[in-house]
Symmetry: C2
Subunit: 232 residues, 2 copies
DNA sequence: ATTACTAAAAGACGAGTAA
DNA sequence: TTTACTCGTCTTTTAGTAA
């Protein structure tokens, strides 16, 4: 009995990278002239390696080639396109899932008390009421993020924050800021980050309609989890 | 004088693949528990290699880790996210560019003459007029695609073709087909592919409002370029 | 200029092992 | 169980060369 085993093998990472590069050079929409030298430059390898990659891709039937003495013409096959699309859909799953939530973890620390002052100023408070739909308790919750929290917080930078405008009052300037609604436990609150300053990256400041510290019986050095949700 | 050289190096293909896998496991939205064994399984490598990858990613500051004796927690950093997003945008450029055109190249061959018969049948002709906005010349142009053209043609399968419905007439059944508007030179035409049949993959048949063969003074074995454009 | 081979150098892999 | 090291093996890379 003769058995033929067809292995639908996963395409190696380097081959996929090479295939993607060919697609970007135009191989997806028709044949494109690609020298091993030029491909090697784009891949950060030697021309020899680029040549070997092309041979490898052809063996896997991910591209077709017509090789001449002065160069070669390359086209990505339907099968090659499918490999690329599979990769593409992985990235879509990572980034286009707008739903979901991020969790920031850190410890409660004592603030300098100036948060209460700023939050009470009408120029800010009015904006909070209008944009966040709550009148903040005069005081802020300060959290020092753990290393994981710092990284997750940075990623939130690319999401849409609510912009708080700066203004002039009492012969001085009050700077702008940005806010991101979130929750601690079941309590609604918002991360607020001053606009211009070199604010320490491991500290976040939160405002809330209630005195969360009292409501949740929190003390300094307690571990806090802040949840940021995106539903649309 | 002290010079600090910061090399913004391209992330290796394997590392990027590993980073993507971590993201898919949840490392993008917060810390996730990942054993080298489990990661190795998903990457198709040994646990040792997976462990090495994690160490490498950490050195490149693409992830942060908290390693314990019974496992490790991994989070993708902002920098890691940017690497992934850069890769993602490459794929977007490849696939989401709806504008642009595909080129199919092949040689003119003689058909069997039956194209003229089918095109003239009102059941088909009426649909062409309604869906393609032209009354086809009674006859088809048959092209044998070169290897590149075959691959490009296959890719067109995933685009939107115009559906031609089958019907009953004169006590027999006429099958459905699909059409794709295109051009040869400046002449409007459409690729037509029968619905059910195992049509040879290297042959395409074209219909057109005029007798293209005569208009362009074409002869058998002439090389033909068919352009398919997408503008939306 | 190309492509693609061969052969030496470099690097990656996984088994074994310790903590 | 884990992580992550060392070490021998094997693969991959690149330089050189031919066509």
């Amino acid at each position: 009995m003769i058995c033929i085993l067809i292995l639908v093998c996963m395409v190696m990472a380097e081959d996929l990278q090479c295939l993607k590069t060919i697609a970007l050079m135009g191989g997806y929409r028709g044949q494109v002239s690609i020298s091993s030298q030029a491909l090697g430059n784009r891949l950060g390898t030697s021309a020899q390696t680029a040549s070997r990659r092309l041979i490898s891709l052809e063996k896997q039937m991910l591209i077709t080639r017509s090789v001449r003495q002065d160069g070669q013409y390359v086209t990505i096959t339907k099968q090659g396109e499918e490999s690329l699309r599979s990769e593409y859909s992985d990235f879509c799953r990572i980034f286009e899932e707008k739903k979901g939530h991020f969790t920031l973890e850190g410890v409660l620390i004592d603030g300098l008390g100036e948060g209460a002052y700023y939050v009470s100023i009408p120029g800010y408070a009015d904006q909070f009421i209008r944009l966040l739909n709550f009148k903040p308790f005069p005081g802020t919750l300060n959290i020092r993020l753990n290393p994981t929290g710092i990284e997750t917080r940075k990623k939130l930078d690319s999401y849409e924050w609510i912009k708080i405008e700066g203004f002039q009052a009492d012969e001085r300037t009050f700077g702008g800021a940005r806010c991101l609604p979130c929750t601690i436990g079941d309590y609604e609150c918002a991360i607020i980050i001053p606009g211009r300053s070199h604010y320490p990256e491991d500290i976040i400041e939160l405002i809330s309609p209630v005195h969360i510290r009292e409501e949740l019986h929190l003390h300094s050095k307690d571990i806090i989890k802040v949840e940021v949700r995106f539903n649309d």
